[in-house]
Amino acid sequence: MGKQLVISVMSKDRPGIIADIATVIYDLGGDLADLNQSVLGGYFTMLLIAEFEKNITPADLFSGFSNIESETKIEANIKEMEVKLEVEKKLLPRETFIVTVQGDNRKGLVKAMGDFFYGNNINVLDLATTREDDKYTMIFQVDLTSVPSMEAFRDNLNSLADQEKLNLVIQHNDIFMATNEVGTQLEILKSD
């Protein structure tokens, strides 16, 4: 019976960093089940799930990562899973919405939105933010399945927008799929 490890890695970004990390895992007999990577401010970060046939320990991986040449030391966190993680692609909840928020950049914007969603018992599925000049943009993908009234929720969002002086728009996820995706349209267009 193999084991599953969740590994997070951070390093200064450079060409070949994915190849080096994947090589360490491959050499230890690991099979990548899923991964997610991103680069922010010149820093590369990757979160991955790997399955190993042999009894590989976090120490084996740390040792492999320490041999990777990099401008900064590779920082890694590794967690051994007792219960196997489900890595199949999960479908988004039916009531997935996109909330876009724009405002003058200042401290506490993400916190304000995070507090709002938490206060309304709303799970944030994904978040992307950008800062351009003095404008800060946040794009939240949220699950509104537990929201009892859309009308009331929109009112609450509008109050928040007024209070925090933000330009805030909420739109169903399907609108973005319909207007941007060619291939995924058929499913959401089905009327039966």
């Binding site: 950008t130 794009i139 929109r154 728009v169 739109q171 319909a178 267009l189 009327s191």
Partner: protein, 459 residues
């Protein structure tokens, strides 16, 4: 997760470019409502419309709220009334008209289309009674719209009907003289009238359709105009060619159509009603920034009607179809750019400047839908001249295998340049000049039919 730029582009389209769904129209078959007498028929008509459209407006609003895309108009179209009331007298047709008006009011829709007849080849006694009833029917109702199909590419043009509807237009205007002849604004004469068009005043539920369907009209020209301004501002006019413009129109229409179809299908799901078609037509409203004329100006003519206007409309119409047809599973209706004079502030302005004439409008209708639409003319133009204008427009549709229509308003007591205003979606405009009036009487008095054109040797 989507790319942030795609999300922001869509948000911009909804928020700044006023993306909406222009109309969701429920088509209802009324053929099975015919009973032994007019009272029972009317009762059944009202009941059937109420049973299907009772919660139509509510469901549209619900879906619009959920998706954050407004559904501007909710309308109903029905089987042409001349079929439903075959054998009725004119007075009985007027009773049916009142009944349809009442049903529309009860369903909470502002317009119901389908007070209509198809007489492109021959006219029955019942059709005659129906046509005779139109002026009164539209004068005594508030929400009803009427249409007559007088020609088709397969059957030719029924010139007896054309002569008749010229007089109908005059009578309609006379009966509603207090409101500037507004009755004529609710009456359209067609060649090749489609049975799945969701736009008024010419919407009907064709006899070829299922019992109940939902058809959707996509967002208006404002979205296209604003997106063109954006791309020209961003890339610079000197770096763009007309094919780039066509490509931009195509892409924005793709998005607009997808939105329309998504909302329409969700409404039809909520109502348990079959989804029909998406009509790609760009329908302007008198609101500033929602004008087909503005697109023409952006593309390079200073006034609509200047040379080049027809070519621009051709480009626009084609690009809209290319983007929309790829986006949608089912396209239908009229699907082209509308150029209704009173309903488009920039067109109305061009009329005021003397830049836009009926002849140029007619030329533009050769390359777009739907015809001479919402054209106010002097009240003293004779019926034969109106019929002859209709005949010309019908000929364009017949020969080119396309839908054309005429909605002329001879405004009682007013002349060229006077302003007529109907308010709301019907808009306002200076009255257009009809040149060469009173010169077509001998042609119209022939009657009979213009035979259907040959469909080969197309040079």
């Amino acid at each position: 997760m989507f790319r942030s730029d795609q999300i922001m582009a869509t948000v911009e389209m909804v928020q700044k470019e006023n993306l909406d769904v222009r109309t969701v129209t429920m088509g209802i078959n009324l053929l099975d409502c015919r009973r032994g007498n007019v009272e029972e028929t009317c009762k059944c008509v009202e009941e059937k419309i109420a049973s299907y459209a009772g919660n139509f407006v509510e469901k549209c609003n619900l879906v619009a709220m959920k998706y954050g895309i407004p559904v501007v108009n909710k309308r109903i179209s029905v089987t042409p009334a001349a079929f439903v009331g075959a054998g009725f007298t004119s007075d009985e047709f007027v009773m049916l008209a009142k009944s349809l008006d009442k049903a529309a009011q009860q369903a909470g829709v502002d317009i119901l289309g389908g007070y209509a007849a198809h007489v492109e080849k021959g006219i029955t006694a019942s059709d005659l009674a129906f046509i005779k009833s139109i002026p009164e029917a539209l004068a005594v109702t508030e929400r009803l719209c009427a249409s007559i199909n007088v020609g088709s590419s397969h059957k030719g043009i029924n010139m007896d009907a054309v002569a008749m509807v010229g007089r109908t237009v005059k009578d309609l205007a006379a009966q509603t003289a207090d409101s500037g002849g507004f009755g004529a604004a609710k009456f359209v004469v067609f060649c090749n009238q489609p049975g799945d068009n969701p736009f008024m005043a010419g919407a009907i539920h064709g006899v070829e359709e299922a019992d109940v369907v939902l058809n959707v009209g996509v967002s208006g020209p404002g979205v296209i105009a604003k997106s063109l301004k954006r791309i020209i501002g961003k890339k610079g006019r000197e770096n763009l060619k007309l094919d780039d413009i066509a490509e931009e129109i195509k892409q924005i229409t793709f998005r607009v159509t997808r939105c329309g179809e998504l909302i329409g299908r969700q409404v039809s799901k909520e109502l348990g009603v079959e989804f029909g078609v998406v009509d790609l037509s760009l329908a302007p409203t008198p609101k500033i920034g929602d004008s087909v004329g503005e697109i023409l100006q952006i593309l390079g003519v200073d006034d609509v009607g200047a040379p080049g206007s027809t070519a621009i409309v051709a480009l626009l119409n084609d690009a809209v179809k290319k983007g929309g047809i790829f986006a949608s599973k089912a396209v239908g209706g009229l699907s082209g750019a509308f150029i209704p004079v009173m309903e488009d502030a920039v067109l109305a302005e061009a009329v005021g400047k003397g830049a836009l004439t009926i002849e140029k409008l007619e030329a533009m209708t050769c390359v777009c839908s739907v015809g001479l639409d919402m054209v106010p003319i002097p009240g003293d133009v004779d019926a034969a001249t109106i019929s002859a204008i209709i005949a010309d427009e019908m000929a364009i549709g017949m020969v080119n295998n396309k839908t054309t229509a005429v909605r002329l308003i001879p405004v009682p007591g007013k002349g060229v340049g006077d302003i007529v205003s109907f308010g709301g979606l019907f808009g306002e405009s200076p009255i257009m000049e009809v040149r060469n009036a009173n010169k077509s009487g001998r042609f119209i008095s022939w009657g009979g039919r213009i035979p259907a054109p040959i469909h080969s040797f197309k040079n």
